[in-house]
Symmetry: C2
Subunit: 614 residues, 2 copies
């Protein structure tokens, strides 16, 4: 039944040969690769507002200069990325660029930063989307965590089915968002020209503190989240129609301009019109309400924002499993993450991402503002490492025009590095420390995992000492029995077909019970199958005396191998009935595999399952 539900949700398995790549036009590629970047304005605007409003109207006056600084940063980063597009036409993620140009450790640092960043992108996008929704429908405000988790579940199921990145399901929300937001900005501009500036002093809450350098830097650091997602086009160059590089760069330009227009437009209008929002509304919602009024247009804008944020979260569902499978192939994370699932998606990676994002949403109570301090650090660390990697790339390669290119990427490294430093300092106590602790920890884990895989393959390799190819001698088989019944007789018949050296062992817990079993054994003529040994157990444990017996027998017989253990096991007709049995077979197996005295000993464990009919 579980299987049936899963099939209905996820869909039927798809054969491997259906895998293929579809090339996209610039318009479809923009929709596929930009939602994460474009939707960033939702939380960036919110962070700038929340950062400044504590200083009242005087603080809010800094929104425009901060936005201009961020857009300057955006331009430099975008320009640097066009160079990565040219150098890595097959797609150069931060992990690849840093590893190839800076070495393994910087590569792993970039990978760790990206891991955390993908996770946070999902959590922040969804919670910001739900905040937009709950601004329009205040009844949802107290239930933001639950709504976010619901959306997370939906996106996860959709991704387990497998969505084409290029599908209409992605393109429609992106262009709806662009259309409605640009329209809103145009109407806002008209209103601003007609009505003149608003007075924030009239509506802003009383300042709780004065404007300090720290406050401005703190707000700038939070606003830098506007840049997250900008790397997507450089990672996905190969999905463009040829000539890929030119098309990708043109799309990069278009996306950067759109990001700048949306961000400057919304921040500027908010400040010019003197818009302020209450505690249960986002600033973008307040702006839309001010420009459009609370009518159907307003609701359309909020839903479009929710839509693009969901699609933005979805890009992590492509990026994270892809990165994980790359790392898994290099042996840095569990190998299962490199397996394609039933539906040609990396199901394990998707499930890990969804599980961890769900934990984040619950821990941070569905509040994107609380998540943001963790968010930008990972993103900017990956930016800075890619840019630094590119500097090294140009310096080593010395292709035509390498100097100007190296200078440009150096500038990128510098500004993203400075922004990163500002973030780490101003946001440290707000949560950035978590990321600063986690990244080196993840790098250590990556390396420990790789060491494990290397150690294993050294133990399994056939190079060096060639293995013996002689068959082993006929094994002794020890059969623990709980009495004389049909199950034991079936197991004895099977044991007899495997070896001529079979011993049955009865662990006697109740004094005297052994004699009864021996009498029955003889009555049924089982001595011809196997000798019965009675092992007393004064402490009423089955496992200990059985292991002792095995050690004793191995020592006495000394035929160069350990006895195999045959366990007659009942399989109950319903899973819950398993609780009604002692599960001794299972406990014996665990002891044989994991007890200290068993470690390193290769001893065959033979299950002989007997299915109970009811």
């Amino acid at each position: 039944m579980l299987d049936h539900i899963l099939r209905t949700l996820i869909g039927s398995p798809m054969p491997t040969h259906q895998m293929g790549e579809e090339r996209l036009s610039k318009v479809r590629a923009l929709a596929a690769l930009s939602p994460d970047a474009l939707s960033s304005i939702a939380y960036a605007n919110q962070e700038i507002f929340l950062g400044l409003v504590v200083a009242g109207a005087a603080g809010l006056a800094f929104a425009w200069p901060i936005a201009l600084a961020i857009v300057a940063l955006l331009a430099i980063v975008a320009l640097s990325y066009t160079q990565i597009i040219r150098a890595y036409p097959t797609g150069g993620g931060a992990y690849t660029v840093a590893r190839e140009n800076l070495g393994t450790i910087p590569g792993l640092v970039a990978a760790a930063a990206l891991f955390i960043n993908y996770l946070l992108a999902v959590a922040v996008s969804l919670t910001a989307g739900v905040a937009a929704l709950a601004s329009a429908f205040p009844v949802l405000w107290p239930h933001r965590t639950a709504v976010s988790l619901l959306l997370l579940a939906v996106i996860t199921v959709v991704n387990l089915r497998g969505v084409r990145e290029a599908g209409l399901v992605i393109a429609v929300p992106v262009y709806l968002f662009l259309g409605s937001f640009l329209a809103m900005l145009a109407i806002g501009l008209a209103r601003a020209l007609l009505e003149g500036p608003g007075d924030p002093a009239a509506v802003a809450p009383a300042p709780l503190q004065s404007v300090t350098l720290m406050l401005v830097l703190h707000t700038f650091a939070s606003g830098c989240t506007a840049l997250t997602g900008i790397e997507a086009i450089s990672n996905g160059v190969q999905i463009f129609k040829p000539p890929e590089t030119r098309h990708a760069n043109q799309t990069m330009l278009a996306m950067t301009i759109l990001m700048a227009v949306l961000f400057l437009g919304s921040t500027g209008l908010t400040q010019y019109l003197g818009v302020v929002s209450g505690p249960e509304e986002t600033i973008l919602s307040a702006l839309a309400r001010r420009v459009l009024g609370t009518n159907v247009l307003y609701f359309a804008v909020q839903l479009a924002l929710l839509g693009v944020l969901i699609v933005g979260a979805n890009t992590s569902y492509v990026g994270f499993p892809r990165l994980a499978s790359l790392l898994a192939r290099d042996g840095y994370v569990p190998r299962q993450l490199s397996l394609l699932g039933d539906r040609l998606v990396f199901s394990n990676g998707i499930l890990v991402l969804a599980g961890l994002a769900g934990v984040l949403i619950v821990l941070f109570e569905g509040d994107s503002h609380a998540l943001v301090p963790l968010f930008a650090v990972g993103a900017f660390l990956a930016f800075a490492l890619s840019q630094a990697g590119m500097v090294s790339y140009w310096l080593r390669g010395r292709q035509p025009g390498w100097l100007i290119k190296a200078v440009l990427n150096s500038l990128g490294t510098l500004v993203t590095g400075v922004a990163l430093a500002v973030m780490m300092i101003t946001k440290f106590a707000d949560g950035a420390w978590i990321v600063i602790v986690l990244i080196p920890l993840l790098v250590v884990v990556f390396r420990r995992i790789q060491e494990h895989y290397i150690a294993i393959s050294a133990q399994l390799t056939l190079r060096g000492l060639p293995p013996s190819l002689l068959p082993l001698p006929e094994p002794r088989i020890v059969l623990p029995v709980s009495g004389v019944h049909r199950g034991v007789i079936e197991a004895l018949r099977y044991a007899g077909s495997l070896s001529r050296h079979v011993t049955a062992v009865y662990v006697e817990i109740e004094p005297g019970a052994g004699e009864r079993v021996r009498r029955q054994w003889t009555e049924w003529g089982l001595d011809s199958f196997a000798r019965l040994e009675i092992v007393p157990s004064p402490y009423r444990s089955v496992i200990g005396p059985l292991l002792d017996y095995l050690d004793r027998q191995d020592h006495e017989v000394n035929d160069g191998q350990l006895a195999s253990v045959l366990l007659p096991e009942f399989v109950t007709a319903h899973w819950w009935e398993a609780f009604l049995h002692n599960q001794t077979a299972w406990l014996i197996k665990l002891a044989l595999l994991y007890r200290r005295r068993s470690l390193g000993k290769t001893r065959g464990i033979i299950d002989y399952p007997q299915h109970l009919r009811r």
Copy 2:
């Protein structure tokens, strides 16, 4: 390491022959068997106060009449129990008495009622004890749940070590409690005579409702918890020194008088002195404070109360596992509950009791008042069923004096039955419904479990059709391989020692990989060990194609048995490393045991564990 911690907490195993019974004098037996009954005054007093205080001073005036009614009930129930002591000198619990005299279903109803009652006795006693403690140390009041759970853990560990019921650790708190409480009542009496009555109207909160019949009955029902635990002596007749019956009856009389004195004394003094308590104090604490002042004597009384409540909770740790083992022997609950643990205690029963009581404490937020409505129903149902069983016993046996005895037990049945009805009606919505739903549910579960065991033993019996005693033919062995490495070669050598019919199967997920494996197979000369079959898997699953292959082979060869599967399995050096492997062997085993297509098929599953060194 885990093993070491457990050993330190629980102690070393004890051999079976150390089991024995110690006979007790009346003084020690009173301490062993009465703490549950004596400590009941803690919650009974509290319930009467909370029940009446909502009607203000007018309500509180009913405390004394209600207490008198409860003591009358106590006398009748105690008298009825002396007859059970005479009829069942080996100990007659409600389960035994009801089953032998009324039939299986009433017996199981009594068992279900007792199960629930033992659980609640632990939860109510501990939370009432912690309420007494937190009344003295108000800083603990908000942390009552945590403190209760801590005490629960301590009692559980002590019981897993095994406590002699007769130990000093039990006797000391009981007599300390009796001494300090009787002294407090004497001082209170002196104070009452010297100072005259207090005026409750001056201190009682304003009435929230008027005194109604429902209110009085409701309070009476809650106060009946004073009787819980009274059955303990009749269950434990065999621990007295001979003549057991006479000693037990004398102790029963002493306990009943003590219960009546403590209960009437505390209720009477509370009312006469006009004592009222606030929301963060128990009424007994308020009484002790009023009589003794807030000094060292007051703290001693509170700690003595905590002590006797803990010891009272402890009696369930003896009764519950004993009842569970009785039921397990009759096949009504999982058999594991009848196993004596390392320390000669029924460890499984103790753990089940502690786990469920912990859940109750958490669910009811450590508040004994919230638990009480569930508590008394189970106790009184068990009372009524024992008494009814005794009526039937006398009517059938017609021993000398049977008529008067039958009349007395009929009176007991009637009054406990009426009290039970009052409880079920007045407390239904407060939580009694949970018990009313649970008891029949438990009875159904008991019977389903017994049916399962009966069905199993019918399948295993050697009576009827005698089993074939011929050995099976040499089995075919199928060995799934993931490539050619040292682990596979070791597994092949083992397979060769078990049978001459070995096939290796490679499930090909990546097209073309099979050919590579076949080349290596031939290179290493493994064809002499086993034929290699390549099974393509277009949907990238290992399990499905392997099961298909097995079915096909079984069908083609058709040698009257199914092929055995040999699984080379890696055991990693550290448990966490298991996550780094696909666990394919484990998944194959699960599929062979539990997939629908495998059900009912007896197919040997051979594990060949290979321990990795790091």
